[in-house]
């Protein structure tokens, strides 16, 4: 399961990076909602959370040195890093050597815990008759169907899945194009390299990718980013299986609701409906820890329902690189086909081999070995899950070796110097280049030297300033093997 956590880290940093990139006045407005503060808090690392909570009810600033004293000596570097992260997210402010929580964030997080502040920031529950059709199981099925329809479309198999719902809406296609997961016009959209990588991620990472794309789309359409962001944070903190009222929402928010519906992140009867239900795809984002395989508890009741809808491990990988996948889903087969040489198909089983050619094909698509391995281990059959490690080491090592094979040559943009008039000139330039760490290759005998592109400009300056004495000549710029 360690591998899985790696992928979570990835998406965590993505949303965190987005928040970091926001200017201060935007952050201030994002923090003005308790739901957003709680959602951001939940995305922090465990140590970060503890640091925030320790400071939450302190009104005075602490000296950084004192905060570091909280940690064991060998872990102080870790804690220092965490504080730095918190500062980048603008959750912690530093003032004359003292650190304290951002006052707005502190107040609103307190509100979130005590139930004060802006009451509707956690969504307004819908009062009125229940939709009898909607149960947790039904919502899970609905969300998975919708989500898979999108993935189907991406792998270009939508035509072979008659059970798939209505064709994808324009907004979904738009998002896919904007995020460069797919490219091309309406007639023939084709999947890109990042699209292949997207397919291999777990559902939570995929959902984050889509949501981040919304934020960028909102920026492009000059919508209020903070409004969109706050609405997203509100959505992720809603309760699964409960109906919420859409009446209090702004026009932009209602528009977003309609678009998220196409992805299966929420459910709404039709776009005019006054109520909506969040699905597990979006509520599970509130915790960074839940895995897509449903091994995290969504409540024992829903877990069985999730597994029922085919969201459990189905792949068996043998030490001889053979793959058996118990599935009849065209989507899953298509995804496997990205890196497995499939040989035969039965009603509920496909078999194949992981071969050098098939893995190389995947690598050419921009998929990394780690992504393949993560995908295989998260979707491993329960019988394999019980083993440690989950996948046979021989196969994972081989996949990594195949990847490294491609990386034996690393092209670097470089500059080649030759024809120094005197040994001294060469020595001087060489020493300077070494000092600034840009030398890729050098030969004192031949008075020749290769430096990186970045170093070239600096060396030019040096040479020009000493033009009188030197006659170093810069020549053409072939990329050189390093």
């Amino acid at each position: 399961m360690v591998l899985q956590m790696g992928s979570e880290e990835e998406f965590k940093t993505t949303i965190a990076e987005y928040l970091e990139s926001l200017p201060t006045q935007f952050c201030r407005r994002v923090f003005s909602s308790p739901a957003a503060c709680l959602a951001i808090f939940r995305m922090l690392s465990t140590v970060g959370k503890q640091l925030v909570m320790s400071m939450l009810y302190l009104d005075s600033a602490l000296r950084l040195q004192d905060v570091l004293q909280w940690a064991k000596i060998e872990q102080q570097r870790v804690v220092k890093g965490k504080i730095h992260q918190l500062r980048k997210l603008q959750l912690v402010v530093e003032d004359r050597g003292g650190v304290s929580l951002n006052p707005i964030f502190r107040e609103q997080l307190r509100n979130a815990l005590t139930g004060g502040g802006d009451f509707s920031s956690f969504g307004t529950p819908y009062v009125g008759p229940r939709d009898r059709r909607v149960s947790l199981a039904w919502l899970a099925r609905y969300a998975n169907e919708r989500w898979e329809a999108v993935l189907h479309f991406m792998v270009g198999r939508s035509q072979v899945s008659p059970e798939s719902l209505a064709p994808l809406s324009e907004s979904v296609r738009n998002i896919l194009r904007m995020s460069r997961l797919m490219e091309g016009g309406n007639g023939g959209m084709t999947i890109t390299n990042s699209g292949f990588q997207f397919l291999l991620q777990d559902a939570a990472s995929q959902a984050w990718t889509v949501l981040l794309q919304y934020l960028r789309l909102a920026e492009a359409q000059s919508m209020d980013v903070v409004e969109v962001l706050n609405f997203l944070f509100q959505l992720v903190s809603l309760q699964l299986g409960r109906a919420y009222s859409a009446e209090a929402l702004t026009r932009n928010q209602r528009k977003m609701l309609g678009e998220l519906r196409d992805f299966g992140l929420i459910y709404q009867d039709d776009t005019d409906s006054k109520r909506f239900y969040p699905t597990h795809l979006i509520t599970s984002l509130a915790s960074g820890t839940r895995s897509s395989s449903g091994s995290g508890k969504e409540g024992a009741a829903t877990q069985s329902e999730l597994t029922e809808s085919g969201d459990h491990g189905y792949i068996i990988l043998e030490t001889n690189c053979r793959v058996y996948a118990y599935t009849d889903s065209p989507l899953q087969i298509a995804i496997l086909n990205l890196f497995v040489h499939l040989t035969s198909r039965f009603t509920n089983l496909v078999t194949g081999m992981v071969t050098r050619a098939s893995v190389r094909r995947a690598l050419l698509h921009g998929i990394t070995a780690d992504q393949i391995i993560t995908f295989l281990s998260t979707n491993a059959h329960p019988q394999m899950q019980s083993k440690v490690p989950v996948l046979p080491v021989t196969v994972t090592d081989q996949i990594r070796l195949w990847e490294r094979e491609r990386n034996r040559l690393q092209p670097t943009q470089a500059q080649f110097y030759k024809g120094f008039a005197q040994q001294q000139d060469f020595e001087r330039v060489f020493r300077y280049a070494q000092d600034i760490g840009v030398v890729l290759w050098a030969s004192k005998e031949k008075c020749q030297m290769v430096v990186t592109r970045q170093g070239h400009a600096k060396i030019l300056e040096l040479v020009q300033s000493q033009r009188a004495s030197g006659a170093a000549a810069a020549t053409a710029t072939p990329p050189s093997g390093a």
Binding site: M5, M53, S54, A71, L113, T114, G115
Partner: protein, 311 residues
């Protein structure tokens, strides 16, 4: 025991001492303390959506579940943001109020902490055996009543059971002097013990956030607040007195303040070969301790009572 991972969830059992008599002597009224405890609990739930919670209330007469409410209501792991905060808060406050109202006040009051710990351990055991993924259990005791020496044996049994199950016990003494038993509980199980003095009682919440919120993983990184002085003295099994030096049965390790010919716990008859040990002076103890090794062979238990310096 595997190392805790960052993403793994916790199970926290909070034992709330709602002994009205004890709280009456506190600078911090019970309702204010409960409010602060509720915020702490919300903070705990906010840490991880999969965190599970049980709250037990205890006073001098009874011990009951406050959350999840017995017989119905949502299961403990049905956690979600805010909505769930509210459900927990309401249940907890009303349950505690009912317990306070229902109980006749009884002076300085000892609360049934050992009973609450036993219930907590049973609940943890049940939850762990049905859990599908790794859950790290711990107990937080918010204590107001003073130690009852009558509880010593059952309490120590609970503590050792907790140690064996690797359950951390954190203890926060809100009212009154240090609790010797809870100090030992925290020390043996690797938890934290804090006592609020009268001046600091307002800072209950901050103290809890700082010392008792961290999960198993984070405790590996952060320093525990130091407890330099812990009173490790035991209570004798015969008169429930705290003793510095006492006698220990070599068979069942029961502690006595006086020499006795027969162990009252395991009925072992002691053989006394050394003259002068019979008067029960601990000063003569080294002789008693070296007198004979326990030899339980042959069906005739012949055991010596050892003297143990407990300080």
């Amino acid at each position: 025991m595997a190392e805790p991972l960052e993403s793994e969830s916790s199970l926290l059992v909070v034992v709330l001492d709602v002994n009205a008599g004890a709280w009456a002597q506190s600078a911090l009224p019970l309702d204010r303390a409960l409010q602060q405890a509720v915020i702490f609990i919300n903070a705990y739930l906010a840490l991880n959506t999969e965190n599970r919670l049980v709250v037990l209330g205890t006073n001098a007469h009874e011990c009951r579940y406050l959350y999840p409410a017995p017989g119905g209501g949502a299961p403990a792991h049905d956690v979600q943001v805010y909505e769930q905060f509210r459900a927990v808060d309401a249940r907890l406050l009303s349950g505690a109020a009912a317990m306070v109202d229902g109980a006749a006040s009884d002076g300085a009051g000892h609360s049934l902490v050992s009973r609450a710990l036993s219930m907590a351990l049973c609940h943890i055991r049940r939850t762990l055996s049905s859990a599908t993924s790794k859950v790290w259990p711990r107990i937080l005791v918010l204590s107001a009543g003073s130690d009852s020496t009558r509880e010593y044996i059952s309490l120590m049994n609970s503590i050792f059971a907790a140690q064996k199950m690797s359950v951390l016990i954190d203890a926060c003494k809100v009212v009154g002097p240090d609790s010797v038993f809870l100090q030992q509980a925290a020390d043996i199980t690797g938890g934290n013990y804090v006592r609020l003095d009268a001046a600091g009682s307002e800072s209950l919440l901050q103290t809890l956030m700082f010392t008792c919120l961290a999960d198993h993983y984070t405790r590996g990184i952060l320093n525990a607040p130091g407890n330099e002085l812990i009173d490790f003295r035991a209570t004798c099994f015969c008169h429930k007195r705290v003793v510095d030096i006492g006698f220990v049965c070599s068979v069942c390790l029961s502690i006595f303040c006086q020499m006795a010919p027969v162990c009252s716990t395991c009925q072992t008859k002691f053989s006394f070969k050394i003259a002068g040990a019979g008067k029960g002076r601990p000063a003569a103890a080294p002789a008693a301790a070296t007198a004979s090794a326990p030899s339980a062979a042959g069906g005739t238990p012949s055991a010596a009572m050892s003297s143990l310096n407990l300080s």
